[in-house]
Symmetry: C2
Subunit: 223 residues, 2 copies
């Protein structure tokens, strides 16, 4: 990949998935994969896989495909912060607990700096090896710990206020699991992770498809 250019959002998502597959699949003979094989694993097309891999700057071989080890390393060069991204979690309920488990599993690439809650019963308790702190300490920790990313796993009612504090403290990216949209300035990337919407979406799509096996798009229907 040439320097100073950005990789499309969707490509980044797929690169993350490709790498996890490369790391967990049993090693292919010769340690190589074809774009066609990766495509099959993600239910995509070989052309798309090759286009995605263009962005990471690895070279394939017309006979052998791509070297698995080299590919995984090159994707890491695109996705990873060398020392691991510095991250905090706000909201240590059931979902927060689950997220701490995820982060722990990815400890090589993600550094959890702190976890926060406003419930006095939770403050001081240790979850998945991380101690829960008071949200009153949030701004200080974000600033002094050079935290780049925050996960909001609070109830809907608290999300915007937490977001505002994070932005003010210099956060750069937020992953929002609260079932409500939050507003942040354009220099802060907000990733929606809205479970309620995902559930409603699938329920609706499944019903749409059931009721009409060959539906047309409402906005582009031909007469």
């Amino acid at each position: 990949m040439k320097g100073g250019m950005i990789i499309p959002e969707k490509t980044i998502e797929r690169l993350s998935v490709y790498r996890r597959l490369l790391e967990t699949q049993p090693v292919k003979r010769g340690g190589c994969v074809y774009s066609r094989q990766l495509a099959e694993m993600v239910s995509g097309t070989a052309a798309q896989v090759r286009r995605d891999l263009m962005a990471v700057g690895v070279e394939g071989h017309s006979k052998r495909g791509y070297c698995v080890a080299e590919l995984a390393e090159a994707i890491g060069g695109v996705l990873d912060t060398p020392e691991g991204a510095r991250i905090i979690l706000v909201g240590v309920g059931d979902l927060g607990r689950a997220l701490l488990g995820f982060i722990k599993a990815y400890h090589a690439r993600l550094r959890l700096v702190a976890a926060f809650d406003n419930d006095p019963l939770k403050i001081g308790r240790v979850v998945h090896g991380y101690r829960c702190q008071s949200v009153d300490d949030l701004a200080g920790v974000v600033r002094s710990g050079k935290v780049e990313i925050a996960i909001i796993a609070t109830p809907a009612a608290a999300a915007q206020a937490v977001c505002d504090h994070l932005v003010e403290s210099g956060i750069r990216g937020i992953i929002n699991f609260a079932p409500v949209p939050i507003q942040a300035p354009p220099h802060v990337w907000v990733e929606r992770a809205d479970i309620a919407t995902a559930l409603e979406k699938v329920a609706c799509l499944v019903r749409q498809r059931h009721e009409d096996p060959h539906p047309k798009n409402v906005l582009t229907e031909e007469q």
Copy 2:
């Protein structure tokens, strides 16, 4: 909305968000909202909101905007299954527990038919009011309970096998929280809900933007 047509995926996602905002925001004076106001709440454009609302078949008023109550009801007509979508959960770990909490909060629109795990210590236990059953009963429950949607919240290693059982039992939609892609036939809608990818994506995007404040797209760069 005219019958027999499908609504774009992205529009469905936004309709879900609009409705939740309409239901939770303090009622505007006169019980009306403008497309511009909804747009601001979701950090979108007024044109997009109006285009989305075209699909639900409500009429706005050039002086008053849209009637909140009427709009929320009309969105429900598009999104909701009248009796609530029939859903199951597979995997009652931390994440599964959190999801049961979410589903409980949406009990009017989602009917949890059952929750499953393969851990003998969990089977029989009650979580958020739902009793955990053995995965051995999965196929039978899906078939006899006419379950449309399943949530996979298992470890990565179990996801594909669970998916296969679900598909065989006649499931119509799957939301996959396991950090691995699953393969299903085209008549089954699979929605990715990959937390590991979301974390890696935001970490990468935040870094990209930091290193180059005015980046170009790697694939469409002009010379």
